[in-house]
């Protein structure tokens, strides 16, 4: 099975209107080369699932500024003023999700769970429209799984079988997103030989990964 593809081949898989998961925390851990490819290709009406929209010139921020995002699921948009402006002007539909709930919803999507009960958001606007359950006398919200058409992942070291190792704080949403999309494309910061990553320290097993591309960064 051929997993290693060119950036052009990766871009051929992305289309207008797709739901795409993009990891990264303020851009750290975001596959910048893949994002740049999306900007260049000008894919429109994207539904993006991410934790933040970084800054206007960084990571997911670039897709926002370029007007490619129609629907956004995120926990924080404060560091990119363009996101707030476009939301207020009705150009982007934003759903805000607590960061821990977002991570867990994506994990549930990848792990075949129908949802989970969290105390986060009880008594706030987050509970609107959600089922509330009481367990052991404590209130919980039922939160549902999130999945996507595509997840774009950024690995610090990646082998041709798709095994990934993430450096430092770049892991963030990469691991859960790699489990929760129909097509998973990983951008390798460094491409290594199979076996070079100790099987014990593989953070995303290659079975989750459909395609590997080499990043520029």
């Amino acid at each position: 099975m051929k997993k290693f593809i060119s950036m052009d081949e990766a871009m051929d898989m992305l289309h207008d209107g797709m739901t795409v998961m993009i990891p990264g925390f303020m851009g750290v851990g975001t596959p910048e080369t893949l994002v740049d490819g999306m900007v260049k290709k000008g894919i429109k009406d994207l539904h993006i699932i991410c934790t933040d929209t970084a800054r206007p010139n960084i990571g997911i921020g670039k897709l926002i500024v370029n007007g490619q995002v129609k629907k956004l699921y995120a926990s924080h948009i404060g560091t990119n003023p363009e996101t707030g402006r476009m939301m207020n002007e009705g150009l982007i539909d934003v759903t805000l999700i607590p960061q821990g709930t977002l991570a867990e919803r994506i994990r549930a999507g990848g792990a075949g769970l129908g949802g989970f009960l969290t105390p986060t958001g009880v008594g706030t606007v987050v509970e609107e429209g959600k089922q509330k359950l009481v367990v052991d006398g404590k209130d919980y919200l039922l939160e549902l799984p999130l999945t996507a058409d595509v997840a774009l992942i950024r690995g610090s070291k990646v082998d041709r079988k798709g095994n990934i190792w993430y450096n430092a704080a770049t892991r963030n949403f990469n691991t859960v997103m790699a489990t929760a999309a129909k097509i998973v494309i990983v951008e390798a910061q460094e491409l290594v030989e199979v076996g070079e990553i100790d099987p014990n320290n593989v953070m995303t097993p290659g079975i989750f990964v459909d395609y590997v591309v080499k990043g520029d960064a």
């Binding site: 925390f25 303020m26 851009g27 750290v28 851990g29 934790t51 933040d52 995120a74 926990s75 924080h76 948009i77 404060g78 560091t79 707030g84 939301m87 805000l96 607590p98 960061q99 821990g100 709930t101 977002l102 991570a103 867990e104 994506i106 994990r107 969290t118 105390p119 986060t120 958001g121 009880v122 008594g123 706030t124 606007v125 987050v126 610090s156 993430y166 450096n167 430092a168 704080a169 770049t170 892991r171 963030n172 949403f173 990469n174 691991t175 859960v176 953070m203």
Partner: protein
């Protein structure tokens, strides 16, 4: 001493050896500068690690290591990295001893509003809702008023971050504890009076007896 430093210094006294602490962005970040030398406090950064250290020198910046505010930091010996699901498992699961956050509003039963002003500013809650619900102790580190208007209210009017989760409020004027019996002023700054505090605090509070004076 600057007002913000006074607040940070007082908050730092809340921690014990071995405590795992998450500091919010802004004023709360300053707390790290005032931890006593004889204890080890472990700072958790919700974007994915424990044992966060100070900011690096300019030439030692690693683009892969930032804190929850997106700023470059370092890690100390014994650090560990993890993903966001594990990070918020740590937070929600009660493994964080204390979180220190700012506030737009807080009220006398411990309701907190710190993530949006409808029609004005909607940055999003980030990890705040999970932190406030999950940390064993929720400490607010904030200036007592916003442009002279009270922030400690009878009842929050802004959208809440969480209900009845705040335990302690530290401002430049004093230290309040939220208890089932009401809000108690435990300590007061040396440069103010109970009357002055009452004048800029909408919430009702009980004055502890004896009332300690905050160290400067």
């Amino acid at each position: 001493m600057d007002i913000r430093e006074r607040i940070a210094k007082r908050v730092a006294k809340e921690f014990e050896d071995g405590d795992i602490v998450n500091l919010g962005i802004g004023l709360p970040t300053l707390v790290a500068n005032y931890i006593k030398d004889d204890i080890e406090v472990i700072f958790q950064s919700e974007n994915g690690f424990v044992k966060m250290g100070p900011a690096p020198t300019e030439d030692a910046v690693d683009p892969d290591i930032v804190n929850a505010g997106g700023l470059p930091v370092t890690v100390l010996p014994g650090a560990a990295y993890f993903d966001s699901a594990v990070s918020f498992g740590i937070i929600r699961g009660g493994h964080v001893d204390a979180t220190v956050l700012g506030a737009l509003q807080v009220d006398e039963v411990g309701n907190l509003a710190n993530w949006m002003i409808p029609g004005k500013m909607v940055p999003g809650m980030g990890g705040a809702m999970d932190l406030v619900v999950g940390a064993k102790k929720v400490i607010l580190a904030m200036e007592h008023t916003a442009k002279g208007r009270p922030k400690i209210l009878r009842e929050c009017t802004l959208p809440l971050t969480a209900k009845k989760e705040v335990n302690l409020i530290v401002t430049e004027m004093g230290v309040f504890e939220i208890t089932p019996g009401g809000m108690i002023l435990r300590e007061m700054a040396s440069d103010t009076t109970v009357e002055q505090i009452q004048a800029v605090t909408e919430a009702d509070f009980i004055v502890a007896d004896p009332l300690k004076i905050m160290e400067d």
